[in-house]
């Protein structure tokens, strides 16, 4: 078939891009070549709209072993140990087939991590759904949770934390972001850069089928009304095979035989082979007749584009093929030598002894288009002036119970109980805390991880929102007593060809970078998902930040559950009373406008570091950060988790009490301390110029405040725990 403009367009290429291909090649590409270009020049592989801005991210740090650009980022956690981690989106497939979409999302990110030689030790997920009233939401949620569990549980990696959100901007485009952490010896990290001539190129894992062809393009296509009829092929995950692949790869990695290794993710064999060659400045020759195929009569076109899961590409040292094959045979996995590295700098494909494609690697990678898309700056919205009597009719207690049973605040146990969070025997903080924590097996160290997003803030003001998410991640890691080290980010946005969406992207990235730099909390890996849009309606800008922190001694870990009657409760950080964009404003005052809470990076850092100082002196009994819902929600969760009441200080200097209890000002924590340590704590706080309030005392089994609040923890717990469960069975 002769390639023409229409065929190029059908492959998702723009006319100018097709022209550029012809110019570069000085001829018309054949169909296989065109498909390879379309896959490599796709947003998903080429980052053509985002590359320019991602360069601005703050990515350096003394603990960074590998920043963005590899399969995953790597940080040094002392001794010989390093943590490999990354987050990735699987939004579009999950909307079409929630179980398989989510499952293969988890499978994909785990492969990214064990490709680097790391054994996965923890999974996390950030999932966003449409309104709970929307007819699709319940089934999507059920399917996604089952898919995440189905894959992670089977592999035997604990899912230790996550985040779940509902907002009608996701009605037609849910978000499923999966994150994995792996542990590796820092002298035994594997990279994807090819090296050496005439080295064998090895294919291992599952056979190649016709599944997922056009998957990479689908990830960048806008959903339209016809999505239900379009039936694009979704891949089916096989966690059992992935488990075998994981064990086989780790076994082979013990030998000195791998030069480089790369998983076949989006755009399968195409992107893996091109990336390996491109990084090594080499050519690569593949004989596609040797690729293990699941189906008959597969064409080179199909083989190159297939997104069958659970496959890897390896470049081996010469002479190691036999030994490697033995390992993969033992694990009952396919193994085939399918090509070699060359000095031509070309991608050369053979099929049945015929050359079926020849493209200079450069054209596919470095020469991929890069766009400087137009974008619009957003203005900081005006602060809302709430009339005084607006609050008059409100009751503190009913506001509290309404908010604590809101889908975005309520307990997510229904979800995380379906994830095996204790396998591997090192989970010391389960889901439900501020961050999940797993021990580094056999050592005193532990790793904390959390994933956060605040689309509402990002939508109101992307720059502030971008900063805020990074701070929230930092705070969650501090709250479990860990030293925050680095982050990964999954940037979920709408259509970059629209100035507004592109502006949201650019400013969120700038915000993320600014906060990361100030907090010395570098970005080491990430992923961009554009075109999250249905029928012209884009999602709220939703960067998900996955943060990782280190505890040198896991025995110092903090939890949020209140521990002892009579202990004091302090609020760390200043409460200004910022209600705009808070959940209180949205669901009680029905006000959606206004700026998000201001982010003061200096205070954020100072407050967090001071918490760690207090922890060092063993002065903190429990700790929780204050986020959505403000002081009263944070305090309620501490009461519920510890099954203990708190008597709130009636003397406390309030602004308006609603402002005080529900404001979402940043940089704040609630801590529990021993009564007789108060003087010492106060001294440390004052020395570090940290503002604090004496909020109350752990007392009985009720949460009380003057005559305005008198609710048993049992009732509060019921409101908190029952909403999601009831929703899912109704």
């Amino acid at each position: 078939m002769e390639v023409n403009e229409q065929i190029a367009i059908d492959h998702g290429l723009k006319i100018e891009e097709y022209k550029k291909i012809k110019e570069l090649l000085k001829r018309n590409p054949n169909l296989t070549e065109l498909a390879i270009f379309s896959a490599m020049w796709n947003e998903h592989c080429s980052y053509k709209s985002s590359r320019k801005h991602l360069k601005n991210l703050f990515t350096k740090g003394e603990k960074v072993i590998q920043g963005p650009g590899e399969n995953a980022g790597v940080i040094d956690i002392g001794d010989e140990d390093a943590i490999v981690f990354k987050i990735e989106s699987h939004n579009h497939p999950s909307f079409i087939e929630p179980y398989q979409g989510a499952a293969t999302g988890v499978g994909g990110i785990m492969r990214d991590v064990f490709t680097m030689g790391a054994r996965p030790i923890a999974n996390l997920n950030s999932i966003h759904f449409g309104s709970t009233q929307h007819k699709k939401t319940k089934n999507l949620l059920r399917g996604v949770v089952k898919g995440i569990g189905g894959y992670g549980n089977c592999i035997g990696v604990p899912t230790i934390a996550g985040q779940t959100n509902f907002d009608d901007s996701y009605n037609g485009n849910i978000l499923v972001n999966a994150m994995t952490l792996g542990l590796v010896n820092k002298n035994k990290i594997f990279y994807s850069k090819a090296a050496g001539l005439n080295k064998p190129v090895i294919y291992v894992g599952s056979k190649t089928g016709r599944d997922g062809i056009h998957g990479a393009s689908m990830a960048s296509a806008i959903f339209d009304d016809k999505i239900e009829e379009k039936k694009p092929t979704v891949q089916v995950g096989d966690p059992f095979t992935e488990k075998l692949l994981l064990e086989a790869c780790l076994e082979l990695m013990k030998e000195d035989s791998i030069i480089s290794i790369q998983d076949m993710g989006a755009a399968g064999l195409t992107s893996s082979s091109v990336e390996m060659a491109s990084k090594g400045k080499l050519g690569i020759e593949l004989d596609l007749s040797k690729v293990p195929c699941r189906e008959e009569k597969m064409t080179p076109y199909e083989i190159m584009l297939s997104e069958s899961q659970e496959r890897m590409l390896i470049i081996l040292e010469n002479g190691k093929e036999e030994k490697a094959k033995e390992i993969f045979d033992k694990w009952n996995l396919d193994f085939a030598v399918i090509g070699k590295t060359t000095d031509t700098q070309n991608l050369e494909l053979l099929f049945n002894q015929e050359k079926v494609a020849e493209i200079p690697i450069d054209y596919l990678a470095e020469n991929a288009p890069m766009y400087d898309r137009k974008w619009k700056k957003s203005k900081l919205p005006q602060k809302i002036d709430y009339p005084k009597d607006l609050f008059k009719s409100l009751k503190l207690e009913s506001c509290l119970t309404k908010i604590i049973s809101n889908p975005n605040i309520c307990d997510k146990q229904w979800i995380w109980e379906q994830y095996d969070h204790t396998v591997m025997g090192d989970t010391i903080q389960k889901p439900g805390g501020d961050a999940g924590v797993v021990r580094v097996h056999g050592t005193n160290k532990a790793v904390a991880a959390s994933v956060d997003s605040s689309a509402v803030y990002c939508y109101a003001h992307p720059l502030t929102g971008g900063k805020q998410v990074v701070c929230e991640s930092w705070r969650n890691l501090i709250s479990v007593g860990s030293q925050p080290v680095a982050i990964t980010n999954c940037l979920n946005f709408g259509n970059p060809e629209k100035e507004k969406n592109m502006g949201e992207f650019v400013e969120c990235v700038n915000g993320i970078s600014e906060a990361a730099k100030f907090l010395n909390f570098p970005v080491v890996s990430g992923n961009v998902s554009f075109y999250n849009e249905t029928k012209d309606k884009g999602i709220k800008p939703t960067p998900s930040i996955g943060g990782v922190g280190i505890l040198n001694d896991y025995k110092n870990m903090l939890t949020m559950d209140l521990k002892k009657e009579g202990n004091l409760i302090l609020v760390i950080g200043k409460t200004e009373g910022h209600l705009d964009q808070s959940i209180f404003s949205r669901i009680i005052l029905l006000e959606k406008k206004g700026p998000p809470p201001e982010v003061n990076l200096f205070n954020e850092k100072n407050n967090g570091e001071t918490i760690l100082k207090l922890l060092d002196k063993k002065l903190i009994i429990s700790c929780h950060d204050i986020s959505v819902g403000g002081i009263i929600i944070a305090l309620s969760k501490m009461c519920i988790k510890g099954n203990k009441g708190v008597k709130i200080n009636s003397q406390i200097k309030l602004l308006n009490k609603f402002n005080y209890f529900f404001a979402e000002d940043q940089g704040r924590y609630i801590i529990e301390i021993e009564n007789n340590n108060f003087a010492m704590v106060k001294k440390v706080l004052e020395e570090n110029s940290v503002h604090f309030d004496e909020l109350g005392v752990v007392d009985g089994n009720k949460l009380t405040f003057k005559d305005e609040l008198n609710i048993s923890i049992q009732d509060l717990n019921k409101k908190y725990k029952s909403w999601l469960k009831n929703y899912m069975i109704s």
């Binding site: 089952k146 569990g149 189905g150 549980n153 089977c154 592999i155 035997g156 096989d238 966690p239 059992f240 095979t241 488990k243 075998l244 694990w331 009952n332 995380w416 109980e417 379906q418 994830y419 095996d420 969070h421 204790t422 396998v423 591997m424 025997g425 090192d426 989970t427 010391i428 389960k430 021990r439 896991y554 025995k555």
Partner: protein, 227 residues
């Protein structure tokens, strides 16, 4: 006490079990499913996980693996065989234990702490155990024990019920049954009480920083009974 943990493709609690056994003084060896012979040992453990992806039915394919013949012989000659979670499922599929483990009643995978009551102390596993009610951890999708009425009669008459789900006080109302198991069965013996299958994972409860440490009571007791 010498133990052997069998690794099937897809097992994922094999390492956890190895760690737990060694921590409590067992001399443990890992055994590959494709081997034909068991090493000389006193206890064989079939660990939790998803042998062969739990495809078809949980444990069904592992029940056909090479090593299983030796495990059956070992059990029939009186050796101790312990199946945890997927291991329990494998034991029912091989016929070493009666009945089957069906999908959980509420259709979801469940990962949480539960309490179980020790129902029979006349055996190597629970003789002299210090606590009657243990807090253990479950993580499974198919733990809903089922057998025919006749079989249940036989099981009861032989005192084969090892562990039952209950609350902290030992009461076994329906609400403390996490998965719908018949008679709240969480653990089951064969007739001779040398084969034990149980859904809870004692190996995940071996120090106080984890979900708890009642698992240690189980392992300590078993090795003490042996000596």
């Amino acid at each position: 006490m010498k133990s052997s943990v069998i690794i099937f493709p897809g097992s994922n609690c094999d390492r956890d079990m190895d760690v737990a056994l060694k921590k409590h003084g067992y001399k443990n060896k890992m055994v590959w499913h494709d081997d034909i012979d068991l090493p000389k040992c006193d206890l064989v453990v079939l660990p939790g996980g998803f042998s062969y992806g739990d495809y078809l039915r949980c444990g069904s394919i592992a029940g056909k693996s090479k090593i299983i013949k030796s495990v059956i012989e070992f059990a029939n000659s009186g050796g101790l065989v312990l199946g945890i979670c997927n291991g329990f499922q494998i034991l029912t599929e091989t016929g070493l234990l009666p009945g089957v483990l069906q999908q959980n009643k509420y259709l979801n995978f469940i990962c949480k702490n539960v309490h179980v009551k020790v129902n029979n102390k006349e055996n190597s596993y629970f003789k002299n155990i210090k606590k009657e009610i243990l807090e253990l951890h479950i993580a499974h999708n198919e733990g809903n024990y089922f057998c025919t009425k006749d079989e249940l009669e036989v099981i009861k008459n032989n005192n084969q019920i090892a562990l039952t789900y209950c609350n902290t006080e030992g009461s076994d109302e329906e609400e403390f049954n996490p998965n719908g198991a018949l008679n709240n069965i969480a653990g089951l013996f064969n007739k001779n009480k040398n084969v034990l299958g149980m859904m809870p994972h004692p190996e995940r409860m071996i120090d106080k920083y984890l979900s708890g440490n009642d698992g240690s009571i189980f392992f300590e007791n078993l090795i003490k009974n042996y000596i």
